[in-house]
């Protein structure tokens, strides 16, 4: 424990202080068993600052926004819009109106598929995805394929869990209209070379969507440096609340798109039989939005900024290296994905002869929370010839001591099923 602490200080995170920011670590999973939370890829824990921001909102400023002139409505509107500005700054968007609030990454990608996709894609048009996509970046395109007859092709994943960029270049020769890909895989942990993928897509005349659900929470993402056309992420994976996510888009693209959901707030004018859409970002925000959640999202972005995204990334890298080292020493464990160099804080693995659900269930006895299943990436699991895997994933609050508990737990599983 001592050495870990020391190392964490070297990477600039005071891990004890950070853990104190998260009230859930005061809970015991069962009496005497502390929580070892290794499931941040599914959803992250929330610091007090985020919980309190929403708490305060409901206790002091709660009102509907935009259309009210009373004090609470003014306060609520200001808080809601300030968060948008902070989120824009966090990903270096040039304007706040490029931040469209959605429910989550999934809705953000669906928004692109419904609005941009239905305006621009017709039968035979090619959309390039990858073999490592989350279902959220597959099913919206399956729906469009069934409806419109678009074609889908997939950048293959190599055995060591990287995208095959040569195969990508071959696909690009077929003039795709869209390239949509995960910045970081939620199973392999692979951090894909997003800037290069986008540069090549643009050279081939394609628009790009970055599924940034796993990147924006874990390292500094700069939408302008990436030249991303669209980029999607969820608050709940980055210390923020459930119920809110973001679609970032280039202004010209967003402006050219038809509205998606119709209703209050997204309109400029409504007659009985017609409407005129509002300007950005409101055009895409129909009905009462997730107001308290936007306030919480702003607090989350502030929290992450105050800790420092580079320090978070360095910390996670160190934990991941250590986890790979420890897991690979366990006989019967097979870890998927690339080496630590190309990888974020995700380790998906199988254990010979034991189903991942049983691994996860038995680890849970020691308070170790890992996820088991296909992690919403069935095609990727199929590719690797497995129906499911166990996945331990890391965030700013995890320690090497927790990795040791994970590995001890896996030995116990082996014993039970031995």
């Amino acid at each position: 424990m001592c050495t870990c602490l020391l190392i964490d200080i070297l990477t600039m995170l005071n891990i004890n202080e950070i853990r104190n920011d998260f009230p859930i670590f005061q809970r015991e999973v069962k009496p005497g068993v502390p929580l070892v939370y290794l499931d941040s890829t599914a959803t992250s824990q929330k610091p007090l600052a985020v919980i309190e921001a929403m708490n305060d909102f409901y206790r002091r400023s709660n009102a509907n926004i935009h259309r009210g002139v009373h004090t609470l409505a003014e306060e609520a509107t200001e808080l809601y819009e300030q968060s948008r500005v902070r989120i824009a700054r966090f990903i270096n968007a040039s304007a706040a109106h490029q931040i469209i609030y959605t429910r989550n990454t999934t809705e953000s990608i669906n928004l692109v598929a419904y609005s941009w996709g239905r305006a621009h894609l017709k039968a035979g048009d090619l959309v390039i995805l990858t073999e490592m996509e989350h279902h959220s970046n597959l099913v919206p395109w399956h729906i469009l394929q069934a409806e419109r007859g678009i074609e889908l092709e997939f950048i293959p994943v190599t055995d060591d869990g990287l995208l095959d960029l040569e195969a990508y270049k071959t696909l690009l020769a077929r003039s795709p209209k869209l390239v949509s890909f995960a910045h970081m895989s939620n199973v392999l942990g692979t951090i894909n070379p997003a800037a290069e993928i986008i540069r090549l897509a643009h050279a081939a005349g394609a628009v790009t969507v970055v599924d940034a659900a796993q990147s924006v929470p874990h390292f500094k993402v700069d939408v302008q440096a990436l030249e991303a056309d669209f980029l999607a992420f969820s608050a709940h994976k980055m210390c923020g609340p459930t119920g809110i996510g973001v679609l970032y888009g280039k202004t010209a693209l967003l402006e050219s798109m038809p509205p998606f959901l119709g209703g209050g707030d997204m309109i400029k004018e409504v007659k009985l039989r017609s409407f005129r859409p509002n300007s950005l970002p409101y055009k895409f925000e129909a009905g009462t939005p997730a107001i308290a959640e936007a306030v919480g999202f702003g607090a989350a972005v502030d929290y992450l900024t105050s800790v420092g995204m580079d320090a978070i990334a360095a910390h996670e890298h160190e934990i991941t290296e250590y986890a790979l080292e420890r897991l690979e020493e366990v006989p019967g464990v097979r870890v998927f994905g690339p080496s630590a160099q190309h990888k974020g804080g995700v380790t998906a693995f199988t254990l010979d002869g034991v189903h991942p659900h049983d691994v996860a269930q038995i680890l849970d006895r020691d308070g170790v929370a890992v996820r088991a299943g296909h992690h919403c990436a069935q095609p990727l699991h199929e590719k690797f010839g497995i129906p499911a895997s166990s996945r331990a994933s890391f965030y700013l609050y995890n320690t090497k001591a927790e990795i040791d508990l994970l590995v001890n737990g896996i030995y116990k599983v082996k014993e039970m099923f031995g």
Partner: protein
């Protein structure tokens, strides 16, 4: 020892008595647990009175899902199709002799859902079959 991994479950998981596939069969149905990709196939033979004369399960999944499938298949041989239509959640839980949270419950009930979808001749194994 933990309830969830009682000896009987580990034993049925490691050494299932009824794993396999009948060929020919009278009823066959297979489906997945969408949450984790666990897969169960059940094949049955019946006589003219509608009594199940033999049964097997195949597939992959966790100890809970596979042990439940083995126990379920073992228990229905000799039962009538009509009886099987009335089996419910409690039937499985009684055989397992454990308490389950909502997620693992789905593992335990997968084989029963598949069985019931098969005997009812339905297109898919939905949750409502075992509620």
């Amino acid at each position: 020892m933990d309830d969830l991994y009682r000896e009987v479950i580990i034993e049925h998981y490691k050494n299932p008595g009824y794993r396999g596939r009948l060929d020919p069969y009278d009823i066959r149905f297979a489906d997945n647990n969408p949450l984790c990709g666990d897969h169960i196939e059940i094949t049955l033979r019946t006589d003219e009175s509608g009594t199940i004369t033999d049964a097997r399960f195949d597939g992959h999944g966790c100890a809970i899902s596979q042990a439940s499938a083995d126990l379920l298949v073992e228990s229905i041989i000799g039962k009538s199709i009509e009886e099987v239509k009335h089996l419910n959640k409690e039937y499985i839980l009684d055989m397992l002799g454990i308490d389950l949270g909502p997620v693992r419950l789905k593992c335990a009930l997968l084989s029963l859902k598949v069985l019931k979808a098969g005997v009812y001749g339905l297109g898919e194994a939905s949750d409502s079959l075992v509620e």
